[in-house]
């Protein structure tokens, strides 16, 4: 990804560039537009004035099929509200995403689950998991694809510190393997990670 630019007319009054060779920490208070930021990048919303360019292309001109391609193999996303399929089991939720690109082996998936202490819940319906458990599953799911940029919208809001460390390890490991960058949004603390850059909203 070469870069994104937000022009000066945006609500945030800023222009910024996100380059996948870096990692970013998006800092803002509540209601300042963190989820909106993700929504623009993932093509979920286009209600902005100004310009959003994704790989040099105008966000508003990208077709639905092109978005599917981007979401499949370039942009990974962990939504704030997780968005699992409640009527499928934990493992089915992961496999349905993994099958799209055959990104990881079952063994690799299992080891990620083990690392986050979730492998004993594999056959449980995702709708019956606790929020913290769901978040861990959603996190793993977001890594089951090739990507150049990983967007995480408040990824640790329901997870305790011990698991945050483990989760971060997995994320950073994956990003390094894929030579990808990430953008992490959070209400406050950056969880002790060293990010290369900070974006303010």
């Amino acid at each position: 990804m070469k870069g994104e630019q937000f022009s000066a007319e945006s609500v945030w009054g800023n222009s910024c560039e996100v380059d996948s060779s870096f990692s970013y920490f998006l800092k803002s208070g509540s209601g300042k537009g963190k989820s909106t930021f993700s929504a623009y990048i993932m093509g979920l919303r286009s209600d902005y004035s100004g310009e959003v360019l994704i790989n040099g292309r105008n966000q508003k001109e990208i077709t639905l099929d092109e978005w599917s391609d981007l979401r499949q193999s370039k942009l990974a996303f962990l939504a704030q509200d997780m968005r699992l399929f409640p009527n499928m089991t934990l493992i089915e939720n992961l496999l349905i995403k993994n099958k799209l690109t055959d990104s990881k082996t079952e063994a690799e998936i299992n080891s990620m689950l083990q690392a986050l202490e979730m492998d004993h819940k594999k056959s449980q319906m995702a709708g019956t998991l606790s929020l913290g458990q769901q978040q861990r599953v959603a996190l793993i799911r977001s890594l089951l694809q090739p990507f150049e940029l990983l967007l995480m919208d408040e990824p640790f809001s329901h997870i305790d510190d011990l698991n945050i460390d483990k989760a971060l390890k997995i994320i950073l490991n994956e990003c390094e393997q894929q030579k990808a960058g990430y953008v992490m949004t959070s209400l406050g603390s950056n969880h002790g990670i060293e990010n290369n850059k900070t974006i303010y909203l």
């Binding site: 993932m42 639905l64 099929d65 978005w67 979401r71 699992l84 009527n87 349905i96």
Partner: protein, 398 residues
């Protein structure tokens, strides 16, 4: 796997009811179409031994000829005028027996004998569409071949047979019967045997080979050949409007009224048309219900469709899953409709066969297949189109 993501959002009962509606619509459509085409076949009739494009013409019976004021036969001038018409390709008068009596006797199943005074007529061979070797007669021959009007069979089956509780006779069975024919005239009597070789619903009296009639006229008959009261013409196209015009202008008529087709047209066809319209209404309603069901199904899966799109699934792949489900449903509907159709068809065909003595009913006519295909095509295409539209919309939105 998308199937699972799309959840078990269906209520089986509602799906079942929608399908039931579609089955009713479809099978009703097929049945009505098939009955309509069957009756059309019966209506066109089985001209049998007389070719389609021959017309039998006679004069309208009016007060004038009953009172003797005008003739009910064709004069030489009238005949010349008819022959002169452009639509007449060929012509022949019906030849009748001259002044002798004919008694026909038939043995019935119950042992009774039915006999009646009848008359026989003949036409030149070129107007008869029977295998020539079946339509000869000479004195050494055992049987006289006869072409019987279908109305005689109908009359027997619906009149006599019913009243004496005798079984009905089919056309094939009639061909096996032997008819005793007694001819009286010129103080002579003769006994002959006849067999029905063929049927036609274009005539209303029994026909015998010209050879036999000439022989009978010579032996038993007397007097000159009268002016014909019935003639037959060959046309290029019976439906030529010029023909109807000419007939009407001159007070002539063909024997259409005796054709059983008219009965069908007047009584049954209106009923069918009404049922057909009812059918169309039912079909429209079932299509509506089905489409609504499909839309509800998709709306209930809105969250899942959106998440799938977010994960990177293409909207076409998602809509394919729904459409495959609908196609399966249509497959089941078609199968059940076909079963119902064939069962009902069997019943209706039996009614037609028994009551109208018509045998050549097809298993399924192309019109019915066409109706079925059109119904399905319309149904499926509306459904698929609205499904894709809906899913694309959902996949796009937040």
């Amino acid at each position: 796997m998308i199937n699972k993501a799309i959840q078990r959002t269906q209520k089986p009962l509602i799906l079942f009811l929608s399908m039931a509606g579609a089955v009713i619509g479809m099978s009703l459509l097929m049945i009505v179409t098939q009955v309509y085409t069957n009756l059309n076949l019966v209506k066109q009739g089985d001209s049998g031994a007389i070719n389609e494009q021959f017309l039998v013409i006679k004069k309208e019976i009016s007060v004038m000829n009953t009172m003797g004021a005008s003739s009910s036969s064709f004069s030489a001038e009238e005949v010349e005028d008819i022959i002169a018409q452009k639509f007449v390709l060929d012509y022949a008068p019906f030849v009748t027996g001259r002044n002798f009596e004919v008694f026909a006797e038939m043995g019935l199943e119950t042992g009774q004998k039915g006999s009646s005074l009848g008359f026989i007529e003949s036409l030149p061979d070129k107007f008869i569409d029977v295998d020539p070797k079946d339509w000869t007669w000479n004195e050494q021959q055992e049987f006289i071949p006869i072409i019987m009007p279908t109305s005689f069979l109908d009359m027997y089956n619906f009149g006599l047979a019913e009243s004496i509780n005798s079984p009905k006779i089919s056309k094939d069975m009639a061909g096996l019967l032997s008819i005793k024919i007694r001819i009286k005239g010129n103080d002579l009597q003769g006994l002959y045997y006849g067999r029905v070789t063929a049927f036609s619903d274009r005539i209303n009296s029994a026909l015998v080979p010209l050879d036999f009639l000439s022989y009978a006229n010579n032996k038993y008959g007397s007097g000159d050949q009268d002016e014909p009261s019935k003639i037959i013409i060959a046309t290029a196209n019976n439906k030529d409007p010029n023909i109807a015009k000419y007939l009407e202008e001159n007070g002539y008529e063909t024997n259409n009224e005796q054709l059983r087709g008219t009965i069908i047209e007047r009584l049954i066809q209106p009923l069918l048309t009404f049922t057909g319209m009812l059918c169309v209404i039912i079909i429209i309603m079932t299509i509506l219900i089905f489409i609504l069901y499909g839309e509800i199904l998709i709306i209930k899966s809105k969250y899942d469709i959106h998440v799938l799109s977010l994960l990177g699934f293409k909207w076409k792949a998602i809509s394919k899953v729904f459409n495959q489900f609908f196609l399966k449903v249509y497959g089941v509907i078609t199968l059940i409709s076909l079963v119902i159709f064939f069962i009902v068809k069997m019943l209706v065909d039996n009614v037609i066969k028994e009551n109208l003595v018509f045998d050549n009913l097809p298993i399924i006519s192309w019109q019915t297949i066409l109706a079925m295909m059109l119904f399905l095509a319309m149904f499926i295409s509306i459904n698929i189109f609205s499904t894709r539209k809906q899913i694309k919309k959902i996949a796009k939105a937040k």
